[in-house]
């Protein structure tokens, strides 16, 4: 296993860059963070529509969420990769396709998390804002969303770990992210699949475990801030 790491560590980290395309772990992280950053405002809009007044906008948002949640991400990726270029008449970069598919997919899920944060707030918060004379936009963006998003930060970070794992589906459409690079390594080292995919699993585990630990830390910080108490960290 060590010799595989020694031989392929640079490929694993940055792909063929600078002699070729950026890939590997760097690509996985870029896809994940870009996806999350683009997903976030889309998810906020979906959450606002889902928790707003019943009407056409809410119906569209409901339709979008229910439809996306009923199909696998892989199918969405295939659609974006094969069908969209046929419709628009020119090819799209595979990494871009993957990001678009993840954004559409995660908007539905992250939107539901943020919507849950909004509906979980006491009714009095919205009433107090209304009683002060605040309109819908300042009420949502100054009062409701800061609290709702703050309360669901652990859920948002959790979605980031999901996005990291989902980015591995990019290997199906030849996006040179971490899994794709390791598939190439496996093609070179035909007899060592156990070690190669062991390394791949370990890298994903370290990434996602570190994020889940960060989530736990955030949860403690949030609860201590909201209750007005200082968390006393155990000194080992």
């Amino acid at each position: 296993m060590l010799e595989i790491i020694q031989e392929y560590w640079l490929l694993l980290l940055i792909g063929e860059y600078p002699h070729g395309k950026l890939g590997g772990l760097a690509m996985t992280l870029i896809i994940s963070f870009v996806s999350l950053i683009v997903t976030f405002p889309c998810a906020v809009l979906i959450a606002l529509a889902r928790t707003g007044k019943p009407g056409i906008v809410q119906s569209i948002a409901n339709g979008f969420v229910h439809s996306v949640r009923a199909i696998p991400l892989l199918m969405l990726i295939f659609w974006a990769y094969f069908a969209v270029p046929m419709i628009i008449g020119f090819p799209i970069d595979a990494a871009f396709t993957l990001i678009v598919a993840i954004v559409i997919y995660q908007t539905a899920y992250l939107g539901e998390i943020i919507a849950a944060g909004i509906t979980g707030l006491p009714k009095g918060q919205r009433e107090a804002a209304a009683a002060l004379g605040l309109g819908y936009i300042p009420t949502m963006f100054r009062i409701i969303l800061p609290q709702a998003i703050f309360n669901v930060i652990p859920g948002i970070v959790n979605q980031l770990t999901t996005i990291i794992k989902e980015s591995s589906l990019g290997s199906i459409i030849a996006v040179s992210e971490l899994s794709y690079v390791m598939l190439q390594v496996n093609s070179n080292e035909v007899t060592k699949p156990l070690q190669i995919f062991g390394i791949l699993a370990a890298v994903y585990f370290v990434l996602c475990f570190a994020l889940s630990q960060a989530t736990n830390w955030l949860e403690r910080r949030i609860s201590s801030r909201r209750t007005g108490q200082v968390v006393v960290e155990a000194v080992a």
Binding site: A128, A130, A131, L132, G133, L134, G135, P146, G228
Partner: protein
């Protein structure tokens, strides 16, 4: 100042206000009391349209609050409203809670809004808690901050929905003291409360509601006399027993 004319309201099939007719004069304090579910809170929530009415008319300084040219947000910014559960914004500090209406409604800069908010906090005796979060202050202090926030836009009317009901007994006094001061300053005030001592001392008029009907509207001397409506005397005897 505020006039209720045949005001009726239903929650589905349940009628919660029945042809309420009453007037709140400018600069006076009106206390609303009555048993639970009598419609007191619903009635005061109609003043700033937090609860819509289905029949009748409410006028504020002679203007129908449901008139087509009335902007509901402008209407509400002219009526201070204090809730039983304070409803401070927990992600904002005490001073930011009080500054918010100035920043978002009056469109003032932070440099303009902060001194005004600090002045209001001094008035309610909480200037030293300006940078605390709502989670770090007591219930009584929270309610005083809520009152400061409701007064920051210099409203024509202050409406309070059971401002002491969610407080520990030892914290009720500090809020009532502030309300006495505000009443003495001449602000027009409508207050739902079960604090009958406060009502006797501060109110200019006391309204008694039962099953959505305003059954008695009198000055405190008459309200607490033997001439009061039978419903009022029954209510007061129950209140006295419980205290």
């Amino acid at each position: 100042m505020i006039e209720f004319q045949n005001v009726s309201k239903w929650f589905g099939a349940l009628q919660v206000l029945r042809d309420v007719n009453a007037t709140v004069a400018k600069g006076t304090t009106t206390v609303l009391c009555g048993p639970s579910g009598s419609g007191k809170s619903t009635l005061i929530r109609t003043v700033n349209r937090l609860e819509p009415i289905q029949k009748g008319q409410i006028t504020l300084s002679g203007r129908d609050i449901y008139a087509k040219d009335i902007d509901v947000n402008v209407l509400r910014s002219g009526i201070g409203f204090v809730f039983q559960q304070f409803n401070l914004f927990p992600h904002l500090s005490v001073v930011e809670n009080v500054m918010l209406p100035l920043l978002r409604i009056r469109k003032q800069s932070r440099a303009q809004a902060r001194p005004a908010a600090m002045q209001m906090l001094e008035r309610v005796g909480l200037a030293e808690k300006a940078n605390s979060l709502p989670a770090d202050i007591s219930g009584g202090q929270s309610q005083r901050v809520a009152i400061a926030r409701s007064l920051i836009l210099k409203p024509e009317v202050l409406v309070l929905d059971e401002p002491t009901s969610a407080l520990d007994p030892e914290m009720v006094g500090e809020v009532l003291k502030l309300l006495r001061e505000l009443s003495a300053d001449g602000i027009t005030m409508m207050c739902v409360t079960h604090e009958m001592g406060f009502a006797r001392e501060v109110a200019d008029r006391i309204w008694f509601l039962r099953n959505g009907t305003l059954t008695f509207d009198a000055e405190p001397t008459e309200f607490f006399s033997d001439d009061a409506h039978q419903d009022v005397r029954n209510f007061l005897s129950v209140v006295r027993k419980n205290h």
